[in-house]
Amino acid sequence: MFPLGIEPYLLGGLIVGIGVSLIYLVTGLHATQSSFFTTTLSWFSKRKNFQKDSNIKQRGWRLTLATGLVIGAFIHTLTLSPTGFWTTSVQLWRLILGGLLVGFGTRLSSGCTSGHGISGLASLSKTSLYSVIVFMGVGIVTASIVNMLGVSP
């Protein structure tokens, strides 16, 4: 069940939680990810849906948060990472097709693994609990089908 042990998972999760908590306690913001796509698009699309005040107000800090994620992963890769810089062997068609569905689905659901999974569950939101159960269940079924069809990794 845990071929790589539990330590990297648990410790990594705690560090993520400290980052999210720091942002919440100091600024009151929920450090969630999927809104980043919609607010960033407000720089590129003139459509009303993107030009909403809430998007314009949030786009700066959401871009800053995304930049932080990249820097943090970069620092870990340079210092403690056992594998160093690395490239996935998941096929490009899967990254693209999966990405499209992830972008569409998380925005329709108003949350992703961080929005529903971390901030939502931590806020004791039932909506988020149901969402997490659904995307995790569907993710497990989908990945298992893809695997059964002989597509790997």
Binding site: M1, Y9, G12, G13, I15, V16, G17, G19, S21, I23, Y24, L25, V26, T27, A31, Q33, F37, S45, W61, L65, G68, L69, V70, I71, G72, A73, F74, I75, W86, T88, S89, V90, L95, L97, G98, G99, V102, G103, G105, S109, S110, G111, T113, S114, H116, G117, I118, G120, L121, A122, S123, S125, K126, S131, V138, G139, I140, T142, A143, S144
Partner: protein, 134 residues
């Protein structure tokens, strides 16, 4: 940069460091969870949610207001068919690719350039959602 964004940047760096430390920036490791070969992801999500739950439900109650002012609002969404259908669509994409928004963005910092295509596709997906809704 204002004070708020400096804190967001520091918190984001911790977030990204933790995602990389836990291996979530590797699509293969996320997929190994979804294939039920390695259940470690539960500890990442659980650990992060527990720490955050303590901050939101205990520390914030003592603190009363965010350090930089404003007010605390727990994250409560309204349950609708959109939330659930969206979660189904997200789950399919997650199962196909092993990517979710945060882990994909952080993955760029590990030198995983192919994930740029996945992130670009997420922008297109988010765009199409707004197009369909307008």
């Amino acid at each position: 940069m204002n004070k708020r964004n400096i804190i967001v940047l520091i918190g984001g760096i911790l977030f990204g460091f933790g995602l990389s430390y836990s291996g979530m920036t590797k699509q293969e490791i996320v997929l190994s969870f979804l294939k039920l070969e390695d259940l470690g992801l539960i500890f990442v999500l659980g650990g992060a949610a527990l720490v955050t739950a303590f901050a939101i439900n205990v520390l914030a109650k003592y603190q009363k207001k965010p350090v930089l002012g404003g007010e605390f609002k727990p994250r409560r969404g309204i349950l609708s068919w959109k939330t659930i259908i969206g979660a189904v669509i997200f789950g399919i994409g997650w199962g196909i690719s092993g990517q979710c928004p945060g882990s994909a963005v952080a993955s760029l910092g590990t030198g995983n350039l192919p994930v740029l295509l996945g992130i670009f596709a997420m922008f297109i997906g988010a765009y199409l959602k707004e197009r369909l809704e307008s």
